[in-house]
């Protein structure tokens, strides 16, 4: 089986919503979360998807 899409990292400002099974980046505020997500998107060659206002995931497509 080949996984075509998978979560590379999660970025959140809400520690109570931490997903397991992937790298998690805690941020102080939304601004920091956007900066981290933009950098990770470029580094990991993935797309930053917003699931909620407090949680972004970087997904490899």
């Amino acid at each position: 089986m080949v996984l075509e899409k998978y979560i590379l990292a999660a970025i959140t400002t809400n520690p109570s919503k931490i997903p397991s099974g992937t790298a998690v980046f805690h941020c102080e505020n939304k601004k920091e979360m956007e900066i981290i997500a933009a950098n990770l998107e470029a580094i990991l060659d993935g797309i930053a998807h917003a699931l909620t206002e407090e949680l972004y995931v970087i997904v490899k497509h």
Binding site: A38, E41, A42, D45, G46, I47, H49, A50, Y56, H61
Partner: protein, 295 residues
């Protein structure tokens, strides 16, 4: 020189010229100048040779020579494989790939054009031998006209109405009309997408067209052609800037989202309308006899 020398040379010339005529380099930049063309002109010359000698062979009652045509068939199948392999290899380096369906269509076209060359040279030689050089010329012109007709397939404008729609965001969701395209989380990226992005709605004209444009290969061909003609605003490592085409499940419309470097709506509409309808994508569900035998 025998009585067949001039008819054979005439058929050979007619067939080779037909192949050169059909080998026009267009917006797809294929075949590339110059080596790619030499391969196909050489193969066209061989095809013309096979077609042209068939008639003198029949007239001399040398029927075994016709078996060479079967050899040609397997030889030209190899042409199809060669084109498929080359284009598949190159596709991984494209900003917006052609897709396998498009590649298969191109490969089939290359094979079939050699058969059209055989047909042209065969008829030209026959015309020359039955009548005279004018008869041969008339047969050659007629064959080239038939070949032109056979090699031109349908266009997307025949099966869909294309309409420009400005893309928009609803939260992180990117939409073209009411068709969801993708989720883009970063506000900066969203601004970039709105600045450079263009949306189009393909409205199928009938039920058959609905199935045809649902084909993923056909949709990829649209994205590739628009990106080739208008450029593409993306680089490697920017998957958020990839052009996409998504389907409305309710009515079969397709929303096309592209990021061209040249944001010209009229030009983009013309490019989309001129996208070839891929042979392998065409579906005709209405042709099925639901009440007939075997349904």
């Amino acid at each position: 020189m025998s009585e067949y020398t001039y008819p054979i040379l005439f058929g050979l010339a007619a067939g080779t010229l037909t192949r050169i005529y059909m080998l026009r380099t267009d917006y797809r930049q294929y075949p590339t100048y110059l080596h790619g063309k030499i391969i196909h002109v050489a193969l066209g010359f061989i095809a013309a040779g096979l077609g042209t000698v068939a008639i003198p062979s029949i007239m001399e009652e040398d029927f075994t020579a016709i078996t060479f045509l079967t050899l040609a068939a397997s030889q030209f199948r190899e042409v199809r494989n060669m084109e498929r392999n080359t284009l598949t290899e190159l596709d991984s380096y494209e900003m917006v790939p052609r897709g396998k369906t498009y590649i298969e269509g191109v490969a089939i076209a290359f094979e079939s054009r050699n058969y059209l060359v055989i047909f042209t040279s065969l008829l030209s030689t026959l015309g020359y031998l039955l009548f005279n050089i004018w008869g041969g010329l008339a047969a050659a012109v007629l064959s080239i006209l038939i070949s032109t007709k056979l090699m031109s397939g349908g266009r997307l404008k025949d099966i869909v109405d294309v309409e420009f729609v400005e893309p928009r965001f609803d939260g992180a969701g990117l939409y073209v009309d009411n068709i969801y395209i993708m989720n883009i989380g970063l506000p900066n990226r969203q601004e970039e997408v709105l600045r450079y992005g263009m949306g189009f709605i393909l409205k199928p004209k009938n039920f058959n067209a609905r199935s045809t444009i649902a084909n993923l290969g056909q949709r990829q061909a649209i994205l590739h052609d628009v990106s080739t003609a208008l450029g593409v605003y993306r680089d490697s490592g920017t998957p958020a800037l990839v052009p996409l085409a998504k389907r409305d499940l309710d009515d079969g419309r397709v929303g096309v989202f592209v990021l061209p470097q040249e944001k010209d709506i009229n030009k983009a509409l013309k490019v989309i309308e001129a996208v070839p309808t891929l042979e392998n994508a065409i579906r005709m569900p209405t042709e099925r006899q639901t009440n007939g035998k075997g349904s």
